[in-house]
């Protein structure tokens, strides 16, 4: 109900944004800043071209694989770190490094070690996304009330039941939040690696349009990437609501 209530405001801000863009581009003009309408036109055209869909397919390959890797490794890792504090002492340093390292700095290392193929793109996407997933899963497990664990034990729960009936349900909302935030980071990683490392797929397309000074197409590509990211995040948010039965903002 709140989401529906937001819609008019979101539309309004979007209209203001679009009009400002249009006005600015027309007044300042120039080859490098397309107008809003030009961008929309180019987006529609691009969506009808095979070139874009091929690029989307190639990019998403890395996105899906890398993100799956991040979730598959990150969720269990975060949960284990949240439950066993001693492990945390070993892992904390690395997590902090992952959090603060400018990810672009990893790219040359990655290229040198696994080459410039799909593997490198997948790994970079995973590295980008995994921090959010680990940190949120860990926080989720940690904020489960310890007295619930004690209660379960008092009724005879073994470690497995404590996990399945107390820790995981308690951590689920935070895990889902981590997954949702991880999607945003994964998309960032996907584009970055294609721009800075292996000029291919969507990133390659953007570099090509830039080289040819095709500003509307360049902007349109960015718009399409943004649209995809927003779509994925909405899907994640919907799944989050379905799974946890709580409203998510």
């Amino acid at each position: 109900m709140t989401r529906r209530g937001h819609l008019p405001y979101q539309l309004l801000t979007f209209v203001i944004f679009a009009v400002s863009w249009e006005v600015y581009a027309r007044v300042r003009g120039g080859l490098l800043i397309p107008t809003f309408t030009e961008t929309v036109g180019a987006s529609v055209k691009l969506l009808g071209s095979a070139e874009l869909w091929q690029a989307l397919y190639a990019s998403n390959q890395a996105l899906v694989l890398g993100f799956a890797l991040a979730v598959g490794v990150g969720v269990p890792l975060g949960i284990v770190l949240g439950r066993f504090r001693t492990l945390e002492r070993f892992a904390d340093v690395y997590l902090n490094i992952l959090l603060v390292t400018p990810m672009a700095a990893i790219i040359p290392l990655l290229g040198m070690s696994v080459g410039y193929g799909l593997a490198a793109r997948v790994i970079l996407v995973a590295i980008f996304a995994i921090v959010m997933v680990v940190v949120n899963s860990r926080a989720g497990v940690r904020q489960v009330d310890p007295s619930l664990i004690e209660m379960a034990r008092s009724f005879g729960a073994n470690e497995r039941r404590i996990w399945t009936r107390v820790l995981l349900p308690g951590a689920l909302p935070a895990i889902m939040t981590g997954i949702r935030l991880g999607i945003g980071r994964a998309v960032t990683g996907m584009v970055l690696v294609e721009l800075l490392m292996v000029s291919t797929a969507l990133g390659g397309l953007m570099l090509e349009y830039r080289g040819l000074l095709k500003a509307p197409q360049l902007y349109a590509t960015i718009v399409i990437i943004l649209a995809e990211a927003l779509l994925l995040i909405s899907v994640a948010r919907w799944g989050e609501r379905k799974l946890t039965g709580r409203s998510v903002r």
Partner: protein, 258 residues
């Protein structure tokens, strides 16, 4: 029913030193007895109860419940928690059935038993609500129903009414008394209220702090079934006054010792 012999337990304190939570505690609880435990905070009441529940390992001594040495939690004992300890994502029905679920009772049977207990604690109609939708008193009713659902022989209650308002607390005390009159469970009930200890208990165990020990066991020779009107009797006033004197002495001894 419960025999505690030479029970000691210490923890590692915040400063790295040892905190003696329980020191050489001996205590017997008779079958069907309602025992209340009273003492200043930090004197080891919770530790004692958790030791009986099998939740904390002890350093030395032993606890025997119904002839069997306690080595961990068991189906003969069920606990009611001060902060209710309800699963926030589960409904009232699932919370009450939780203990049964952990003990492997099938879905249909545990739901049937849970429903009966929900009705018994006066929560019929609230089966599908979640804990956050209930008042504190109602949440503790769920906690009590969950413990009773597993049909324990011993009910272990750690300041169960400490977090509810005064009126609700009085209602819950009366309801607990009538449940106990019918079921005749053995109850160990921790409280920090002298009035509550006397109203409910057959005996009041007075504990003293540092190290946690039993200072005295005060019998409560008031007739059963007990009613609220007891509070106006001379005997009741006498026992509560006595308990208060003892607690105040302990407090002053403790202050002098520092």
């Amino acid at each position: 029913m419960i025999e505690i012999r030479g029970l000691s337990k210490s923890f590692v304190g915040q400063d790295g030193g040892r905190v003696q939570a329980l020191s050489d505690v001996d205590l017997d609880v008779a079958e069907n007895e309602f025992l209340t435990v009273l003492g200043p905070s930090g004197c080891g009441k919770t530790t004692l109860l958790k030791a009986v529940a099998g939740l904390v390992p002890v350093d030395s001594g032993e606890i025997v419940v119904d002839g069997t040495k306690v080595r961990g939690p068991g189906p003969d004992r069920a606990m009611v928690f001060q902060n209710f300890a309800l699963l926030p994502w589960a409904t009232v029905l699932d919370n009450v059935a939780f203990g049964l679920e952990l003990r492997g009772v099938g879905r249909a049977e545990r739901q049937e038993r849970a429903r009966a207990l929900i009705a018994m604690v006066g929560l019929a109609g609230f089966e599908t609500k979640r804990p956050a939708e209930l008042s504190g008193g109602m949440q503790q009713r769920v906690g009590i129903a969950r413990a009773l659902a597993v049909q324990p022989r011993v009910l272990l209650m750690d300041e169960p009414f400490g977090a509810v308002d005064e009126q609700t607390r009085r209602l819950l005390q009366e309801e607990l008394l009538s449940i106990w009159e019918e079921s005749r469970l053995t109850v160990v009930f921790i409280t920090h209220s002298m009035e509550e200890a006397v109203l409910l208990g057959d005996r009041v165990v007075l504990m003293s702090a540092r190290p946690g020990q039993i200072a005295e066991i005060v019998p409560v020779p008031l007739e059963r079934p007990r009613a609220r009107s007891l509070e106006r009797s001379g005997k009741y006033a006498e026992i509560t006054a006595y308990l208060w004197d003892r607690l105040r002495d302990m407090h002053e001894e403790h202050r002098a010792a520092r």
